[in-house]
């Protein structure tokens, strides 16, 4: 099975930035013993599920393409960090 390590590094950085920006992760990706980027992988799955993509946990072309679509800047997942950052006008 392909792992995230098979993806070009710039794509991984792009995906990690995207996932953090839109509420899927709050930390940097970490590797497990096999070299898979664990937190990114599970966050990717979450994003793929939300976006209606095939859920693989792998940074495939369809996922990268979806991440490059124009979109709304509001986070898809509103975690505690979102609530902490937002202030009333």
């Amino acid at each position: 099975n392909p792992t995230l390590k098979d993806s070009p590094p710039e794509s991984i950085i792009e995906a990690a930035t995207y996932l953090a920006r839109y509420g899927y992760s709050s930390s940097s990706p970490t590797e497990d013993k096999s070299g898979a980027l664990v937190s990114l992988s599970s966050n990717l799955e979450e994003f793929q599920r939300f976006a209606g993509l095939k859920v693989t946990g792998v940074l495939d072309e369809a996922t990268i393409e979806k991440m490059r679509e124009p979109r709304c800047g509001v986070k898809d997942k509103l975690g505690p960090s979102y609530r902490a950052r937002r202030r009333k006008r």
Binding site: A51, P70, R85, R89
Partner: protein, 394 residues
């Protein structure tokens, strides 16, 4: 759908536009209209109403076009990527649009980002809605190419907004009567023909010199309506003013994209372009509209999907300008279908009117029915009296 968790306590919300898109500074009216339409997309399907106020007035929602870091800790990223963001009610409700985008207010224009689609989505956040994982919903986070008919609010969105603010009040948008004629001299006593028998042959709303005009056709006469009844100086004779159209029309179908109007009677139809009758007409309905029957009751182009529908007796037909199977104009073999599919609409209707491109009204005898395009059924508290609401009869 997903709700963020906060909502407005009032159902009448005020908004103001604090700054404008750089590429549309010469078309502020166009921007203003699109913003209004975007709010209206929500007020059409909920108990909310919206009002624009001046920049010096108090408002619930502030709208800004800004680029890069604009002071809220969430900098925009230039063309593409993030297009806009908005704050949920508990955070103030404001909506910010990335001024680096090539905004457009006309969905027919190629390229650019459709302001209506993005604004309607952002205002969903301003009202308390989070992103939906239903792909076709307006509240899905990804930008979709603009819809010409502005039919962006889907069932998922309606359920979400109605959970927060309930459905539209039955009387939220009654038929056009509140505005009075501009001067007392324009007022006319109730029309004796229409008030005695308010059944019509056909009705038509079209744009004439930039103004929306609504006409009623009945027998050999026609009337122009005001917002409170019938305009002074009517009825007039169809044959004198409509350049050769016959009396006793069956149906009228305006096709505004092409500036055309089709008139149907018996087995024939006439075509007008730019309000002038085209030469070579009448033609057989079977020639111009293959698959559509003669002696129609009514016809209209539905704003929900841009398709043409024809009604006769207890059945209806959908006419496609390009059938998937043949690539030619015609009617799919799925039709005719029973009118009962249009929940609440009776058989043997007289006319259908898309009033000011906003709502679909069906007329039969002395009654009319307001059809809710989103719910696909007649609104509660209908039918109502055509004479009273449309012709100003007392």
């Amino acid at each position: 759908y997903a709700l963020q968790g906060s909502r407005w306590r009032t159902k009448t919300l005020r908004y103001k536009i604090m700054s404008w898109p750089s590429n549309l500074l010469d078309n502020k009216d166009g921007v203003r209209d699109v913003i209004l339409e975007s709010f209206k997309a929500w007020s059409d399907v909920s108990g909310l109403s919206f009002e624009e106020v001046g920049t010096g007035s108090k408002s619930n929602i502030e709208i800004r076009f800004a680029s890069g870091d604009h002071g809220d800790g969430d900098a925009f990223d230039g063309p593409g990527g993030t297009l806009a963001h908005a704050f949920f009610p508990i955070y103030g409700g404001d909506a910010h649009f990335d001024d680096s985008e090539n905004w457009k207010v006309d969905p027919r224009k190629r390229g650019g980002i459709d302001m209506f689609t993005v604004a309607a989505h952002e205002f969903g956040h301003s009202l308390g809605l989070s992103h939906s994982d239903v792909n076709e919903a307006l509240m899905a986070p990804f930008y979709k190419p603009p819809s010409l008919d502005r039919d962006v609010i889907k069932e998922d969105d309606i359920k979400a907004i109605q959970e927060l603010y309930g459905p539209p009040a039955a009387d939220a948008a009654p038929a056009p009567r509140p505005r009075q004629p501009s001067s007392p001299g324009d007022r006319q006593d109730p029309d004796p023909i229409l008030c005695q028998d308010s059944a019509v042959d056909a009705m038509l709303t079209i744009d004439v010199n930039g103004q929306k005009r609504t006409y009623v056709f009945k027998g050999d006469h026609y009337w122009r309506l005001t917002s409170s009844g019938v305009e002074k100086g009517y009825p007039r004779l169809i044959r004198e003013m409509w350049g050769g159209l016959p009396d006793n029309l069956d149906a009228i179908l305006p096709y505004e994209e092409a500036d055309r109007i089709y008139f149907f009677k018996g087995s024939q139809y006439w075509r007008m372009t730019g309000l002038k009758l085209d030469p070579g007409y009448p033609k057989p309905i079977s020639a111009g509209f293959p698959g559509i029957p003669d002696n129609l009751d009514a016809a209209f182009k539905w704003r929900a999907n841009g398709k043409m529908y024809f009604f006769k007796g207890s059945q209806y037909w959908r006419f496609d300008s390009e059938l998937e199977t043949t690539g030619r104009p015609g009617v799919s073999d799925k039709y005719p279908q029973p009118i009962s599919i249009w929940k609440g609409i009776p058989n043997n209707i007289d006319s259908v009117l898309i009033y000011e491109n906003k709502r679909t009204y069906f007329f039969k005898g002395d009654s009319y029915y307001r059809f809710n395009d989103a719910a696909f059924s007649v609104d509660a508290s209908y039918p109502r009296s055509t004479a009273e609401y449309w012709f100003g009869c007392t």
